[in-house]
Amino acid sequence: MNVMVDVEDTRRLEAFRAEAEAWIKANFPESLKSKLEEYYQNMPRYPDGPDWALWKERVRDKGWGTPGWPRDYGGGGLPTPEARIVLQAFTDCSAFNPMIGMGTSLLGPTLLEYGNEEQKKLHLTRVSRGEVRWCQGYSEPGAGSDLAGLQTKAEDKGDHYLVNGQKIWTSGSRFADWCFCLVRTDPKVKQDGISFLLIDMKTPGVEVRPIRTISGESPFSEVFFTDVVVPKENLVGKLNKGWTIAKRLLQFERNATNTARRQLAGDTRPLDVVAKEYIGTDEKGRIADPDLRQRIIKHMMEFRSLKLMQQRMLDETKAGQGPSEFTSVAKNARARIQQEREELLVEIFGQQGLGWGAAGDQFKQEEIDTTRAFFSNKAMTIFSGTTEVQNNIIAKRMLGLLDHQ
């Protein structure tokens, strides 16, 4: 019977979970615990210091930064359920995976599917060991939702490609060593003229200019390419066949943002607790503002639905294959609910939720952090494919509705 197998599976995995957690607790440096928020705030820049280096080294040696990747590429070589347990254990032990970044979450899985042996050996190993940081060269000023309309061109110069153009919204590019980049290698056709290229950010002709956003922070940059020479071995997959790879990577991206820690808002205080503190309670112990209270209740219930939906999708993925179009549904739901949460929080804080600048005696850290998140998370419905683009995907690929004929 299947049931018996499941029971044995469960026992084995529970034993592994205990082992993983024990190792993390024993090896995660005490001093980094307080760095947790800083770490997430500054992603994708790593914190500094000897403890940090030690933690990276320990995780690297176990291959646990990329626990599911083959050992040949510096990974942990674990089966999917065990790999998932390791990653979950970092969070559950209030630690974090020091290798996390676009290399582990986006480029890695993509190269595993589409890279050749040399590329995998070289790049995956560096990512697993935390030696190289990656950024994403996708969007352009004229190619946002219409990503395939990109114009950055790579000309074939015999032994190399010559890249010219501009990318935008490249998060973390200020700290990145390499960039995986979509380039136009055939201007005559749209999707079929795109190639997937790996570019060393230290190549002459690459210039990074930070973009200031409405939150006051600059987590993104524009990247300009002027006569940048890229060796031909840096082409992933076939020439002009990069669009398929690009779309696959976007699925990994939606999947990654769907499970990203900070955006899941599980780490901040529950809305009702905050509301009682700021608004007070009535004679029955209810949040004193009845209108706002109803909206908080509704939101908290929907937030719980979201978590159940995410669990369901995780279970389904476990039973099936990798991320699918279903990630579009999850992305839209999560983005909307997260934005509603922050609109509510700003309303709950009242004018204390409208501060600008650093925290201090007038505004608490929690207030300022919330206000910034309120602004920066307005991008959740825009980046990684807008809500509108996801709705197109849902309607067409999942529901089978056609375009005008």
Partner: protein, 378 residues
């Protein structure tokens, strides 16, 4: 684990097959047009009983399969897809749960096998006014000798016209609104002093108002503890409510599927209406909302099977989510069908009508949001 077991998948497939073969929506239409006073088709119900679905939550010792609540949810969802009318929620879930959880051996032996085989129908008699308000039970059961005398009324008893026996929530002490003093009684429909009158609701099912005029019962009519039945009542209601939510999700899923199908066939302006982007996005929003609602219902049923402490809050979450989604889905169903959906000849109206009845049954979203808030201390 939020997914179905192999057993449950098999149950779903067999229910789906049965519904397709035996209960198209046209069968419900025929039943409605026949103005059957019981408001369900007896042959259909017999077939349902033969499939074993009347015994899904009843232990094997009393003739059931004890597959559990997630399993009956799977069945109700499939039946809900085609607005199948059958006395399952009140009888095979609600009243059966009361007996399973609180009944004496004698009560169980007397009724559970019959409920399981579909030869008896039981019903839950809870409401006493226009709204679901189980905290305000007022129907008086006065101690008389070793027994009780019941006087008062019950309204909108689901499947009440077909019922052979009622599980009645009554007050043996205290004022309406107080926790203590609730007692559940098992009372046959033919008890002296008990009369019933049918109510026609928009969904063409069988509802009854009951009048108790000095109905005398013995101590053996009490289900569970006398005067301290609130906890049992809550458990029973949570189970019935979760079952309603399951039917709602099936109803809503079909409302969605029918609508998408229509969008793929109806032509206006020389184009399939499903090719208009504004409607595509509407469909995408609706689909996303469905994905958010569905797991809440499954989780509530699963939690009941696992007897988790968080059952009450999960049931309220599920009912509120199912209510809101089915309201949204049926509004969009009518709107996206345009004129044809407004006609009685089309099925859309059946979905809208059953939806609004189930939204009110066992608590509106407002009721369950407030209950959820109270449970988590807001």
């Amino acid at each position: 684990m939020s997914l179905l077991t192999e057993e449950q998948v098999m149950l779903r497939d067999s229910a789906r097959g049965w519904v397709k073969a035996n209960a198209p929506v046209s069968a419900f239409r025929r039943m409605r047009d026949s103005e059957n006073p019981k408001s369900f088709d007896e042959a259909t119900f017999k077939s349902i009983a033969e499939m074993g679905w009347t015994g899904v939550v009843i232990p094997e010792a009393y003739g059931g399969s004890e597959f559990g609540y997630r399993s009956i949810g799977v069945v109700l969802e499939e039946l809900g897809r085609n607005v199948v009318a059958a006395p399952l929620i009140g009888s095979a879930v609600g009243a059966a749960s009361a007996l399973v959880l609180g009944g004496t051996e004698a009560q169980k032996k007397a009724w559970l096998p019959k409920i399981a085989e579909g030869t008896a129908i039981a019903a839950l008699a809870i409401d006493e006014g226009p709204r679901y308000a189980p905290d305000k039970i007022a129907l008086a059961a006065k101690k008389k000798g070793k027994g009780y005398t019941l006087s008062g009324s019950k309204t909108f008893v689901m499947e009440g016209m077909a019922a052979d026996v009622f599980v009645v929530a009554a007050r043996t002490s205290g004022k309406p609104g107080t926790e203590k003093g609730i007692t559940l009684f098992l009372i046959p429909a033919d008890a002296t002093g008990l009369s019933r009158k049918g109510r026609s609701l928009i969904d063409s099912r069988g509802y009854a108002d009951l009048t108790f005029e000095g109905v005398e019962v013995g101590a053996d009519a009490v289900i569970g503890q006398a005067d301290a039945g609130k906890a049992l009542l809550d458990k029973v209601l949570d189970r019935a409510t979760a079952a309603v939510a399951a039917e709602q999700m099936g109803l809503a899923q079909q409302a969605f599927d029918t609508t998408i199908e229509y969008m793929k066939t109806r032509v206006q302006f020389g184009q399939l209406i499903g090719s208009f982007q504004a409607l595509q996005h509407r469909a995408a929003y609706l689909f996303t909302a469905m994905q958010l609602a569905r797991p809440t219902v499954d989780e509530a049923l699963q939690a009941i099977d696992e007897d988790r402490d968080e059952v009450p809050e999960l049931v309220s979450l599920a009912k509120a989510a199912a209510n809101d989604f089915i309201n949204y889905a049926t509004r969009e169903m009518i709107q996206l069908h345009g004129g044809i959906g407004m006609t009685d000849a089309h099925d859309a109206g059946f979905y809208l009508k059953r939806a609004r009845v189930l939204e009110a049954a066992f608590g509106s979203s407002a009721y369950h949001r407030e209950r959820y808030a109270k449970i988590i201390g807001m």
